[in-house]
Symmetry: C2
Subunit: 229 residues, 2 copies
């Protein structure tokens, strides 16, 4: 059996409609797909892998409010038509594969090397997805059968686990501002975009440090760092 790690965080994202950025170079997922595994044969070899299947055959587009004179981006999705041609159905093997059951079970298994791309010609082995389409991550456990006619037993030698709360829409830029804010609040690498962090602010506060700029005041050129200019 398999237990999804950080389920509470996944639920929070899922409630808003999770979005995952895809880039040409490949982008990690956040939250990272992580699981605890139980009930393996400690001595047997297993391969662990993930793939991503379309949730439907639709293409989405961002919703827009039409006010009296202005248009506002909404946080909901409209169906924009039929899905684009399917992407190459790649899989991502956990880089520790193959390994013994004991190895897999003794700690959380993290797919933090997995990257998503929208580049159909990607040759880095990343997972290729269509932007503006919805996907369901799947987790597969494959028992490495030592018998030499193991192909015959392929059907019974693997097991698939699906956590619906990990569904997401692939995007090249966030569509829902609340998703952006939740990513900023929960991903350590986005700490630079937090307007304040009540949690550990007094601890880390250095009196002379430059104040964090608000998201609105931020712009690229006018801000110069004295150490670099």
């Amino acid at each position: 059996s398999v237990q999804l790690e950080m389920k509470a965080l996944w639920d929070e994202f899922n409630q808003l409609g999770t979005e995952m950025i895809v880039t040409k170079a490949g982008r990690r997922m956040f939250p990272t797909f992580q699981v605890k595994i139980f009930g393996m044969d400690p001595m047997a070899d297993y391969m662990l892998l993930m793939d991503f299947v379309p949730v439907d055959d639709k293409r989405y587009r961002q919703d827009v409010f039409l006010s009296h004179r202005y248009a506002f981006h909404s946080s909901s999705w409209l169906v924009a038509g039929k899905a684009d041609p399917a992407t190459p159905g790649r899989v991502h093997y956990h880089p520790d594969s193959p390994a013994k059951g004991a190895q897999w079970m003794k700690q959380i298994v993290s797919f933090d090397k997995l990257k998503l791309t929208n580049n159909l010609l990607d040759d880095n082995g990343h997972i290729i997805l269509n932007s503006m389409h919805r996907y369901q991550p799947r987790f597969h456990v494959v028992y490495v059968d030592p018998r030499k006619d193991s192909e015959k037993y392929a059907e019974e030698n693997f097991k698939t686990f699906v956590f619906e709360e990990t569904r997401f829409t692939a995007v090249t830029a966030y569509q829902n501002h609340r998703i952006t804010q939740l990513k900023i609040a929960s991903n350590p690498f986005a700490k630079g975009f937090r307007d304040c962090d009540p949690e550990d602010w007094p601890r880390n506060h250095r009196p002379g440090a430059l104040p964090l700029m608000s998201a609105f005041a931020r712009s690229r050129n006018p801000v110069s760092s004295p150490a670099h200019q």
Copy 2:
């Protein structure tokens, strides 16, 4: 068979008398011990590991020149007496162990997670060495015998490789200034101490950047970074 990577660099260090820093928290080796492996059974499982054996039973001390009025640190070593009591003889398993021969052979095997410490009570699994003592790194390949009476064959199921050019003296601070300079010149993480780097200086040069301070002018307190103060 096994081939030492970066042999030219190891030779250069060895000619000067390689020194490796040991710290309480654990310090990586530089150069890193890396090998290419040939002739494994691609389908069989192997464990790869390293250990460190004393080269002799001596303790060393730094040499000093006595000039007319002053004493200068030399770059040679004097025997200071008999070795201190032996440290716990730990081994470091390559973290990918066990893995198939095919996996090990398809790329360079790097022991960059291995750390050296002088803390006899270390509980991070690091290699414990006595400072001011000389050591010979050893590399071991263990075939994981599938037979259930595999203990009987332990003798024939492993092979040890020794590269004499990887010998070094464990130190808590560098004794030979030329070793320090070679480390600075060849370790990317020490780039901050290079006085100049003719190789790619024009490329990386930013006109407004603070100039690198020379080794002599450097001191801790008078230098303040405007971004942090």
